[in-house]
Subunit: 263 residues, 2 copies
């Protein structure tokens, strides 16, 4: 737990502003979405209807800034390395601290992130390309629609990792064990079938090379709500910047028990 | 699908008012909770925080009465064999039709029910006592608290099925495959450890005999929200009567795909 707490301390102090892939290995990382209370029912329902891209780990109610279950002592206004500010459906700026924008009616949603299954992939001997390169994972808008809920709708966003065909099978089996962090892939092999024209030009994150004979494998991504925020046109909303996640104190091996126990 | 639709038709026509265990075998049955929009965020969050007792299958928004994903053409005001009406935190009456109580601001929540895993148990050669006897499953209030959300809080309610020790292991493995309908048991063997003083006096449903050498096995139950409604003291709320479920068109074998696909 020390590694996660140390990283959050560095982030809070302004000493770490990079993507968090590979940082505090073994600890669950989370996507952040913050909306005013007036949109909170719609967004909670959007998550319920789109569990592959939006696997909810914790909801922090209005008036609170601490993710008590994921990270006691945390402060959602300062513990994410980079935030994005959305106004009226436009992403207007990025910041490393959103304390002075915070309002008492903000409700925060923390969603599972595919970074949490990368250690199990590496442990199985698979090469995860963007981890090898030390870059951000490539993410793409698709033509697969999400299920709408109130003001929220929009396309599914996916993250992509290339694997040789047999490793892609292993990757599907391994990630399928972690539904709390997007679970099994949603597609592989034919990016054009899900509306991705050019893998070398991701909509978020950094491109990675795909070697001859490798399949691009696609997982539902927690950046999906950012597309929904562009369409919802709320006066104000806040998210993490893609790849710059909230790092929790929960160990990845405890994920299967996160929702499946009663005490 | 015909069996489920026929049963809903009989219920709507007032020709079937009994518990639904064992009816339309193979089709998913659901618990119903209806609250005014003003309490809908709190209740949705309560479900998110208590997924074992409250595994959400579908939310039907204000102004709608049809569960489009679970049962196209359904009418939530008439398709449950028996309803319970809650006023100011008291269960005041039971009805077989709630059309004239319905309001445009009602939001309906359909939660998975353990009846959905009884066919797999029977298929594995296990005896399910209350099915053998044709009675309602016994349900008990426990001393395990649920995680509160807004106005909702209260004790976990469990359903109980007795099994010989080795069958109890099988039952845990089988039901663990169905997290959408409460999943694996939460306790077995020592009812007093979870606050149940007398198995012969269930709080809901009917008692069943437990033979020598059998373990009582306990599953989180979708009646849990009814305890939370008693405490929330909403002016008006509606649920199914315990054991009298909403029968859907979804096949039990499709449950694993219900939340885990994107199209």
């Amino acid at each position: 737990m020390q590694a996660a707490q140390d990283l959050r301390s560095r982030i809070r102090a302004g000493d770490f502003g990079r993507p968090t892939a590979g940082q505090a290995p073994g600890f669950v990382q989370a996507n952040l979405v913050v909306v005013p209370q007036s949109a909170a029912f719609d967004f909670l329902l959007y998550c319920q209807r789109n569990q592959k891209p939006c696997p909810l780990l914790e909801v922090v109610e209005a008036g609170q800034v601490e993710a008590r279950r994921l990270a006691p002592g945390s402060d959602l206004r300062r513990d994410v390395p980079r935030y994005r500010i959305f106004r009226d459906g436009k992403m207007v700026e990025e910041r490393t601290d959103v304390s002075d924008l915070w309002r008492d009616d903000f409700v925060s949603f923390l969603l599972g992130c595919s970074f949490s299954f990368e250690k199990p992939l590496l442990d199985a001997g698979l090469e995860v390309r963007h981890v090898t390169r030390g870059s951000n994972v490539p993410m793409y808008r698709t033509t697969i629609p999400t299920r709408p809920a109130g003001v929220f709708s929009g396309p599914l966003v996916v993250s992509m990792r290339p694997f040789p065909p047999e490793a892609a099978i292993q990757a599907a089996l391994i990630t399928g064990k972690f539904p709390e962090v997007h679970g099994a892939p949603i597609h592989q092999g034919a990016p054009e079938a899900i509306g991705i024209a050019d893998l070398s030009r991701p909509d978020y994150g950094d491109a990675v090379p795909i070697h001859a004979g490798e399949l691009p494998v696609f997982w539902a991504c927690g950046v999906t709500p950012q597309e929904a925020l562009l369409r919802a046109k709320l006066p104000l909303a806040i998210t993490h910047a893609p790849g710059h996640m909230f790092v929790s104190d929960v160990r990845e091996e405890d994920l299967p028990f996160f929702h499946n126990r009663v005490r």
